[in-house]
């Protein structure tokens, strides 16, 4: 993967992952605040899911920064990039899957909550991780779309767009072997989705 992507783009992805992570942490914070006031468990689950997803994105930020500095500044010396990719991305996979599972858990009707126990998260090689992530987020998108059609307000549309962007991020990374531009588009969609989430948070918190 490193040979296909221009080295300078890792600097851009570092900014994307860091920004997305910060927005995710903000979402987690506001959801936690809402759960403390309203005593609503769904807000707590939402907070936890975004906290974990954001930690995953922070790991990606670290990997991107390291790859850029190693290839651009130190010309390849340092910890083996293959080793870093393996452990770093494995950490990201696990954190993201747990985060997405929590989101699915939040949206599942009470009677079906045990379903999440049967999702094969252990089956997470690179391609399968993206497929499982895409499927999990698709369920979240469907629930979010239903909510958007009911509420018909901009805030719900912004959240739906954020989840769609996240799903497309995983789908395009799956298709990266066909064209390196998929990686670029995937990351642009990721930041677009999180910026949409940020806009929603600003609107929700305005006086």
């Amino acid at each position: 993967m490193m040979e296909l992507i221009p080295v300078w783009f890792y600097l851009i992805t570092s900014v994307i992952y860091l920004t997305s992570s910060v927005i995710g942490f903000l979402t987690s914070y506001f959801a936690l605040k809402a759960s403390k006031i309203s005593k609503n468990k769904s807000f707590l689950i939402l907070s936890l899911s975004f906290l974990i997803i954001s930690l995953g994105l922070l790991v990606l930020f670290g990997i991107s920064v390291y790859i850029y500095t190693t290839l651009e500044l130190y010309k390849g010396s340092g910890i083996s990039l293959n080793l870093l990719n393996h452990y770093g991305f494995s950490t990201y996979y696990i954190l993201s899957l747990v985060g997405y599972l929590l989101l699915v858990f939040m949206y599942l009707p009470k009677i079906n909550k045990l379903f999440v126990l049967y999702v094969p998260i252990w089956y997470a090689s690179l391609d399968k991780f993206h497929i499982i992530s895409f499927v999990l987020i698709m369920y979240v998108i469907i629930r979010s779309l239903i909510n958007s059609f009911r509420k018909k307000n901009l805030d719900s549309y912004l959240v739906t767009f954020a989840f769609i962007s996240l799903a497309m991020f995983h789908l395009l990374l799956l298709l990266m072997s066909f064209s390196q531009s998929m990686y670029i588009i995937a990351n642009l969609l990721l930041i677009a989705g999180f910026l949409s989430l940020l806009y929603m948070l600003v609107r929700v918190n305005r006086k």
Partner: protein, 82 residues
């Protein structure tokens, strides 16, 4: 919370009867809730020309604002919120 919204709707000052009908409460429940809200600093009782009113305090206004934000967040994510 309904009581706070009713008082806010009445431009920050409302009579007990207005709150009673607006929140659809019994006399005993209303008294209990008003005592709770007063003792916790969300509203205060004022007397004007032998009439009793309840007004929102800064804490009450603050709580309404936070509740509205939570409601908007709940609607954005499709989380049931009462």
């Amino acid at each position: 919370m309904d009581i706070l919204f009713i008082i806010q709707k009445e431009k920050g000052k409302a009579k007990p009867t207005r709150i009673l009908y607006g929140a659809n409460l019994s006399h005993s429940s209303l008294k209990e809730y008003l005592n709770y809200l007063t003792s916790n600093g969300f509203i205060q009782e004022v007397k004007e020309n032998e009439h009793t009113f309840y007004t929102l305090t800064q804490k009450g206004y603050g709580f309404i604002n936070e509740s509205r934000k939570i409601q908007r967040l709940a609607e954005a994510f499709g989380i049931p919120f009462d």
